[in-house]
Structures are given as structure tokens and as C-alpha cells.
Amino acid sequence: MKKSIKLAVALLLGVSGPAMAQDIKVGTIFPLSGGAGPDGQSVTNAVKLAIEQINEKGGLLGRKIALVSKDDESTPAVGVSRANEMIAEKVDLVIEGWNSPVTLAMQPILARAGILDITAVSKSDLILSGETNPLAIRINSSNGFDAGIIAKYVVETLKAKKVAFLTQNDVYGNGFQTAVEAEFKKLNFTGEVMMTEKFAFKDTDFRVQLTNLKSANPDAVIVTNSSNSSGLPAMVEQYRQADLKSAFVGAVGIMLPTVFKVAGDANNGIVSADIYFWNLPPFDGIPESQSFVAAFKKAYGVEPDKSAALGAAALQVWARAVEATKSLDRKTVAEAIRGKTIKGTVFGDAQFLPNGQLQPRYVIFKVVDGKTAKLEALP
């Protein structure tokens, strides 16, 4: 009776078929409902596709991979429950993390149970600090690296003399701003940071901050807003409505497809950077990326965005490491990834720092046409 309930639940959750005793189980824990639901769905779909691609070629270590996908509802307490369920399911890997607090809550639980845990998207620096998980691995870039490319653009390319910040008021936003200011020092920035305007993640009305920024009239405004579904598109539109002449420079990775979809033309002229574009170099020349893009388009009707790429890469990195070490043991596989280079992912060669951070390759871009998300890569 209990088994049939479990089966029904598994099917409802979109698990790809009942797992056979000899299948390797991979679990994903992302928000599948609520505000970040569509994003979490996209990442989970990417992992699913990456698994299918491997299964088609004969599987991993001669066994098929089965996916167990769960919803953390962007709530740490729920994520903890799901992590415990993964332990009960005896999965060999958990790919998780859209919201940092959920990742931070789940990590110690998975680590204690000896399950390998790869964080796909969450950006907090604490994830790699070793306190929650000594064998942490993260695919998405960290604030420290991100700051470098944005600072470089503002100082050297834009040659801005007056800079202002429009920063999300949490560890992510404040951390990014601090990192950018530190980079400014390293680049011997001779201009001034005129002002910092802050807002809460859930805010959708930014008139007050934009009015202040307009009065100050800086050369560039560095914007850090991770609310890609509502806050950021609203901010972009209001920025244009308020007729700010300052250049809109977005933090790394914030210009996700929903921002283009919702704000459309208002995005024109925005400069930002990201770590993956299916149609821009160098990624359009990587064979794994091309085949993944084609398969993703075929399965889901749309090209994969950065988040999907992160999910796929997480799976691929693990699979290659397992193949190389012929082992599913957490320590063995983790050490084959941390500080090493894994070939054959959608990112091409994936180089990892000893602390588990994937080294990103940035592409700086300017938005040419917001409606079609047409971008122009800048040098």
C-alpha cells in the first residue's frame, strides 16, 4: 500500500519511471512552485535532459540513471525535509540550490548522510566556506569573480567618473557591491562612488530610489537585483520611464529570459555579463553545448538559458568524474572534481578551484533588441 502511494507520488512529481534496483539515483531539489517555480523547473528539466543524453549512450558505469525530483518551495524547512527524503531514497547525488538559505540548510544534512551535494545556482559565499559541507561544489559563479568583470567594464571600457549603486539589500547584493568597490581600488579607479540606493528583494516600485539617482546623474548605475520574475523587469521599465540618462550596468547573471520577456524594449542598451549563452562565443563553438542546445530545444521548445546550463553542467561534471574514478563514493568523486578540470560539459572544459567553485568564463554583452533578447557581445 505504501509502495503504491510512493509510486503515485513519484509519478506525480515527474520522476522518469520507477527506478530499478540497479539504477543509479540522482536527486534534484529546486523550487518547483511559488515565485521561483518556473526557474527551478527549467533547471530540473535541464538535469533530466542531461541524464537522458547519458542514458541514451549506455548509461553510467553500465547502469541507467534515474531522476528523483523534489520541490523545496523556496523554504529552508521544506528543503530540509526533502533532503531527508533523498537520504531515505538512497540517492547517490543531490543537485540542488536556487535560494541560498535553502542550500545552506540542506548542506549539513546531506553531508552528514554522506551524500554528494552539488550546488547549481545559489550564490552565497558561505556555501563554499566548508562549515556546512567540507566537500562542497558549486557551478554558478561567485560574487568575488563577478565583481571583477563588471568593475573592469565600468572603469576601463565605460571610463565612468561618477558611479552609483542600486543594490538589493541582502548578503548577495551587499556582497557584490563590496566586491565591486574592492575591485575599483585594485584598478586604481579615480572617479567617485556618488551614492548607494538600496531596496528589498520583494520590492516592485522603485520610484523613490530612481528619483534620487536621477538627481545625482551618475555616468553609470550598477544594478544588482536578482528578482528576475517581478522586481527586475519592473525596475528596468521604471528606469526608462524616469528617463535616467545614466548607463544601466547589470550585475552578472541577472538578465534572465523572464526579464527580457516582461520588460521587452525597455532592456535596450543595458550592459551586463553572464557565464553562458547558447548562441554567443565561445559557447556556440563547444560541441557538448551545441548538442545539448539542440536536444533542449527539441524537448522543451526553447533554447536553454544560463540556469539550465548550470543544471546540465552539474550533472555532466559528476558523471564524468564518476566515469573517471569508476566510483560513486562521495569523497572519491568530490576530490576528482574539486581543484581539477573536467572535460566535456556544456561549459567546455570545467575548471574547479580547490574550494569547489567552478571557474566562470564571462561574456559581456549589450542588449541590442530587448524584445527578441538579441545581444551583442562586447570585447
Partner: protein
Amino acid sequence: MNVAQQIVNGLVLGSGYACIALGWTILLGVARLVNFAHGQLYMLGAFATWYAMVTLGLPYPLAILVAIVALAVLGALMQGAMMGLVMTQNLTSLMIVTLGLGYVLQGGSALIFGGNPQTLPGTLSRAKVDLGSLWFTWQDVLVLVATLALYGVVWLSTQKTRFGSVIRAVAEDPKLAELFGINAKVVYLLVFVFECSAVALGAALVAPRSPILTSMGFNEVIMTFVVVVLGGIGSIGGALMAGLGLGLFIAFFGAFLAQAYTTAAAFGVLLALLVVRPAGLSAR
């Protein structure tokens, strides 16, 4: 620091707060019912408007009407289910029932409308007005005008009409009112339906400012809370003043101090007020 523009910003924000708060304060004042589904009803009002415009292809004014009617019907159904608890004035259970219903609305909307953000095209939110160095949109003007009109109509009805005195009688003492032949059940029903219609109107006018999501909820209307308590529960004029005042406070606090802490500041002010004047919040 452009003071004039911040005043405009404050009025824009404030009229939004006041518009959404009206239904809630009347419901609280008359039926003493804390409607925890208020945020989800706001979300539904926005999505009903969106659905009417995008799927049914109706023009904006008609879509607003559709939203109002849809939520009025929903409100009638909800109140029907809760009537037993309302008549026995089991306020604690009522609060939690509305919380439960709010959850049902949220889960249901997510399944029906999906989790993706939607925009409301065809409103005036992109029609900009430039007055010298000041800017706002025609939608903002619409919100302000509609809010003032709504408050005017409601105030007049409660003060001048017989129905208004009936409502005030029920608010004062439902049992006594019943003795005088007033059907309290009908009054409660109408007040709840009004709350739902008012929040639908508020949503239809205010929500187009930004993308709408089915995960929207209490957060969007959390300022309603402060407006209602600050303005005096059940006080119509109070809600309007408190709404506009709060909008101006938020604009100036944000402009000159720190925008990120405005929620904390608003609630801090509320708590301070309650410490100083704990009993002076009810309209009685």
C-alpha cells in the same frame, strides 16, 4: 533630492495603499473579521483582470468590471461558508479559516494560471506624463482619482443613506441590531462582498505597475495592515489619511534615509504608536 518629485511619488504610493486598504478596514470595523486571504484576493483580482484582457480580449475598463464581479461572487461563496462562524463571532477561528482559504486560493491560482510572471497590456501604466521635471503615469492619476472617488462614494453611503446607518448599527452591536429587525447575515455578506470587490478594483488599478505572479500575497498588501491600524479600524477617513500619509512617509524616509528599511520603519512607527496609545485604535 528632488522634493517635488518625491511628493508625487509619495502620493502615488499612498493612493495605492489607501485603495487596497478600504475594503479591509470596513470589514474589520463592521464584522471584526481579519481577512487573511486579502493578499491572495488581491492577486486573484490582478489575474482576473489579466485573464479578461489577454484571453477574453476585453478592453481594460471592461476587464476591471469582470474582476470586480468575479471576486464579488467568490466573496459571496466564501462568506457563505464562513457564515456560521461569523454569526457566533468566533473571531479566532474565522481568522484561521480565512488563512486556510487564502492558501487554497494561492495553490489553486498557481495551478490554473501557472507560475510565470504576466504583464497587463493595454493599461495606462506606460502612458507617461511629464510636467516640467516631474514625471508620473496616467495610471497613477487614475489610481488617485479612483481612490478618492471610491472613498467619497463609500463615505457618503455610510453617512447619508439608511443602509449606511444599518451597517453602523450592526458594527456597533449585532445582537441589538437584529432585535431591531436588521438581518445581520445579509449585512455581513454584503460587507464581505464589498471587501472583495474593493480589493479587486484596487488590484486592477495598482497591479499593472509591475509583473504579476500567482505567488503574490500578503507581502503585496502588508502595508494595508499598517494603514488600517494607523487610520483607526473602521474609520474611512482615517484609512484615506493614513494611506496617503504612509505613502509620503515611505517616499521621504526612503529618499533621505534608507529605502530598504521602510517596512521596518513603518511597522516600528506602528508599534511605537501602539505602545503610546494602546487602546486608541478601535473606531469605538
